[in-house]
């Protein structure tokens, strides 16, 4: 476990900013308790400072996880957000997409969001913008990237992809072995 270097922090922040924009400040500067980012076995954890200080006592090979895992660094130094970060993304998301009940399972199996599954979408979403995907009763299901801006989606046919799938909560079942 160690703090992130500047490049690593930059990679993480840029990814997060794609979904929560300026709200990223709220993750770093929290009113309740100081939180910090820590890297452990290529994974980035977001953890309260008190937990982190206790977790330091655990030997490196024995420490499995602490706090919330945000994602992992690939060998080539790219950062990939995991679905485990959904909690915070959903809390601070700037752009949201709600999908109809008939599209829920499809999305949870790792498919993209089609237009006919689209329930609602935040107004004025630009294209290629990170969005958090919710079910119609506001349960966060995952996140992805828009393929078109809100205005452009009107003209698309019903089977067109609106949101490219990035991660969904179904991965807790599908990728349990590789996620952690």
């Amino acid at each position: 476990m160690r703090p992130l270097t500047e490049e690593e922090s930059k990679a993480v922040f840029e990814k997060l900013a794609n979904y929560i924009g300026k709200n990223l400040v709220h993750l770093i500067d929290r009113p309740d308790e100081p939180y910090c980012f820590r890297l452990h076995k290529d994974r980035v954890y977001y953890v309260s400072e008190s937990s982190m200080r206790l977790g330091v006592s655990v030997a490196r090979p024995s420490l499995i996880s602490l706090g919330t895992c945000f994602g992992k660094f690939s060998k080539s130094g790219k950062f990939k957000l995991h679905v485990t970060s959904l909690d915070y993304l959903a809390q601070y998301a700037k752009y949201k997409v709600w999908i109809k009940p008939n599209g829920e399972m499809s999305f949870l199996y790792g498919n993209h969001v089609l237009k006919n599954h689209l329930g609602r979408i935040t107004e004025d979403t630009p294209e290629h913008q990170g969005v958090v995907v919710y079910s119609m009763n506001d349960v966060p299901l995952g996140f992805g990237v828009t393929s078109r801006s809100t205005v452009d989606t009107r003209k698309l046919d019903p089977t067109a992809i609106i949101v490219f799938h990035q991660a969904d909560v179904g991965e807790y079942l599908r990728d349990e072995d590789t996620l952690f």
Binding site: L54, S62, S65, G67, C69, D87
Partner: protein, 687 residues
């Protein structure tokens, strides 16, 4: 066990209610009112209807007996002084509770109060109709409001349920009367009901003795009254009764050998033989003398029959058999053949139970709150979707978790801002429960020695949104070294799993004596580590909860007793669980500490949850005085022999030299620098 199929209950899911508690359930106001009316009228009606019921019994299959009738019957029996009515009612003690929810739904259940196998289908149909209704009207309100009314119907359901299983092995008159008394005792609240049950069961031995005496007296007066009564009930029963009177002969040891050599007896023979054995053992004073055989012979035969009939190995069958009275043991074995209810725990970090229930109902899941004792549990009866893959599940709104595994966490009752350790935490049901109770404050250390299981633990921790959890993978015995100073420690120790045989039947054959001794050794090590990891100065906590999913004494009370002896600064405290039986304070010649009664045991046949054991320790500051060191020296010997050293006097003066030497050796072994031998004041010794 394929050959047990015919004995199984028709559909386990709907039967599973209970956990001993009133499902707060579908409210059908009209019906309930009717029920209460019936209840209030009962004393009057019972007299009227009693004769009719007797008639019913003779016909056995007639589905018209009403609720009131049944109550009347039982009442009647009791009035008769528990005259040993060998009726079906008395038998399925554990199953009684299962019927509760059913009775809430429909009177049609009661119609088959005395119905047998053939009625099961109809039963299920009724049931499903009701559940359908309930999905529409389910009111998950404050869960308490309706209890007083509910309990009346529950009484009836109990009765109705008793008749359900056709092939039970232990019909005893004393049981019937006990049950009826139970139902009379039922308090206004389910919880109390629960307690009453356990109290009643504890008191059973005494009552049986009483009844035996009464029976003897009656036997003298009325001769073969029993047999007549049985005959009136049922043809099969009649046969049994006759056989047990004269026809049945216990095979000798030689015969058993021969039987075994021939490839074992046939199933129905074994079954009958078990019935006989149970009957005779149940009334040994009256009947045992007639047989001219030793009681131990009957017990040997019964144990070996149980082993072959339920598929246990002899060792385990005997071990479990010894835990209970004879009829109860059979109930226990029977209960292990039936799966426990599917239960889920609401993740209060993400949602509320009411919202979750509504969401699941919309998905076509049929569920109800588990009971009063928990406000996060839901019991699933049936579901049109896989309950482990709904969007709600994936979003972490609930956790699939056996009802029994709520108990240790409830006992632990972690408070916000505490530091908690879960020593054997995979797959994370209890850990996430703790984190939810902490409301994501403080820190939870979730440890599990098994690296592969740790993955699912981590996945669950993240799925349920627990942000204060540190997952690590140590052997639990390393713990005070890795980190200490916890406010609370939960040790759900690795165990033989004799409480969850219904879940994992492989336990029946793969556990040997050696396994048990190894496990209890490990458990003893772990519990000391757990105690040492606690910060005794903690303002809010300082508690250790030790639990297992096993029912054997040497994994539970023996371990607790060991910890009490080894660590003078801990004491047992009340677990905070209002139900469950008290732990044994003495078992097969072993005496445990008096306070061991504060521990709680849970049985599948009584509470309809997995067999479980929960104990709670309070760790206090170590008081250093001369006595303690000496005690520790003694304890070693004491534990080995499990003997009582109270009255053996030690000559302190004579022993002093050896004690000093022993202490030096111990410190040396731990790696301290030991002062030279001549020095009479070792550093660690306080005056």
């Amino acid at each position: 066990m394929g050959r047990r199929a015919k004995n199984k209950q028709g559909d386990p899911a709907p039967l599973v209610e209970s956990n001993g508690i009133a499902p707060s359930a579908p409210k059908k106001h009209g019906k309930r009112k009717a029920d209460t009316d019936a209840q209030s009228k009962r004393p009057a009606k019972k007299l009227k209807e009693a004769p009719k019921v007797k008639a019913d019994k003779r016909k056995a299959e007639e589905p018209t007996s009403t609720v009131k009738a049944k109550n009347a019957v039982t009442w009647d029996d009791v009035q008769d002084g528990g005259s040993g009515s060998e009726g079906w009612e008395g038998i399925e003690d554990g199953n009684i509770l299962r019927a509760q929810a059913k009775s809430l739904f429909d009177d049609s259940d009661e119609d088959e109060a005395h119905g047998f196998v053939g009625d099961l289908d109809e039963y299920e149909l009724d049931e499903s109709d009701n559940f359908h209704d309930s999905t529409m009207e389910l009111d998950l309100g404050p869960d308490e409001a309706d209890e007083p009314e509910l309990e009346t119907s529950k009484l009836r359901s109990k009765r109705s349920k008793q008749a359900e299983r056709p092939t039970k092995i232990i019909p005893t008159g004393s049981d019937a009367s006990t049950n009826s008394e139970d139902s009379e005792d039922d308090g206004p609240i389910n919880m109390e009901n629960m307690e009453a049950r356990s109290r009643a069961l504890d008191a059973r031995a005494a009552r049986e003795a009483e009844l035996d005496i009464e029976e003897l007296r009656r036997a003298a007066m009325e001769g073969d009254d029993d047999e007549e009564f049985d005959g009136a009930n049922d043809m099969e029963e009649d046969e049994v009764a006759e056989a047990d009177g004269d026809g049945f002969v216990l095979p000798t040891a030689a015969e058993r050998e021969a039987e075994k050599a021939a490839g074992g007896p046939e199933v129905h023979i074994v079954q009958q033989r078990m019935q006989h054995c149970v009957r005779i053992l149940g009334q040994w004073k009256k009947r045992g003398a007639k047989t001219g055989r030793k009681r131990s012979e009957y017990i040997d035969q019964l144990v070996s029959d149980i082993a072959s009939y339920y598929g246990y190995n002899e060792f385990l069958a005997e071990k479990l058999f010894q835990l209970f009275s004879v009829p109860e043991a059979i109930e226990f074995f029977e209960a292990n053949e039936v799966p426990r209810p599917v239960t889920i725990r609401t993740n209060t970090l993400r949602t509320r139970r009411r919202d979750l229930a509504q969401a699941l109902i919309n998905r076509g899941v049929n569920l109800e709150p588990i009971g009063k004792w928990t406000n996060v549990g839901l019991q699933v009866f049936e579901s049109s979707v896989p309950i482990g893959a709904t969007p709600e599940y994936l979003a972490g709104q609930y956790m699939l978790q056996a009802a029994s595994s709520f108990l240790p966490v409830i006992a632990l009752s972690p408070q916000p801002h505490e530091r908690v350790l879960d020593m054997a935490s995979a797959p994370g049901g209890k850990t996430t429960h703790i984190a939810a109770l902490l409301q994501n404050t403080g820190v939870v250390f979730a440890n599990d020695a098994n690296k592969t299981r740790v993955k699912s633990l981590t996945a669950n921790v993240h799925r349920l949104g627990c942000k204060n959890v540190v997952v690590c993978s140590y052997d639990g015995r390393e713990f005070p070294k890795v980190m200490g100073g916890f406010d609370r420690v939960l040790l759900d120790a690795p165990c033989s799993g004799t409480g969850v045989i219904s879940k994992d039947a492989s336990v029946k054959v793969n556990k040997s004596e050696r396994d048990f001794s190894l496990l209890s050794h490990l458990q003893k090590q772990l519990i000391l580590c757990a105690i040492d990891s606690v910060n005794p100065n903690s303002k809010t906590g300082g508690y250790v909860v030790y639990s297992t999913c096993s029912v054997t004494v040497d994994e539970n009370e023996a371990v607790v007793d060991y910890a009490l002896k080894k660590r003078p600064n801990v004491r047992l405290v009340d677990t905070g669980l209002e139900f469950g039986r008290e732990g044994f304070t003495s078992y097969r010649g072993k005496k445990f500490h008096e306070t061991v009664r504060l521990t709680r045991r849970f049985y599948p046949h009584v509470h309809n949850m997995d067999g479980f054991f929960v104990s709670k320790f309070k760790v206090e500051k170590r008081v250093k005085h001369q006595k303690k060191d000496e005690e520790e020296g003694e304890n070693e010997a004491e534990v080995a022999t499990a003997g009582d050293t109270e009255d053996v006097a030690f000559d302190d003066e004579a022993d002093k030299q050896y004690l000093e030497e022993g202490k030096r050796m111990r410190m040396k072994a731990k790696g301290f620098r030991v002062p030279p031998k001549l020095d009479q004041q070792p550093a660690a010794t306080a005056p």
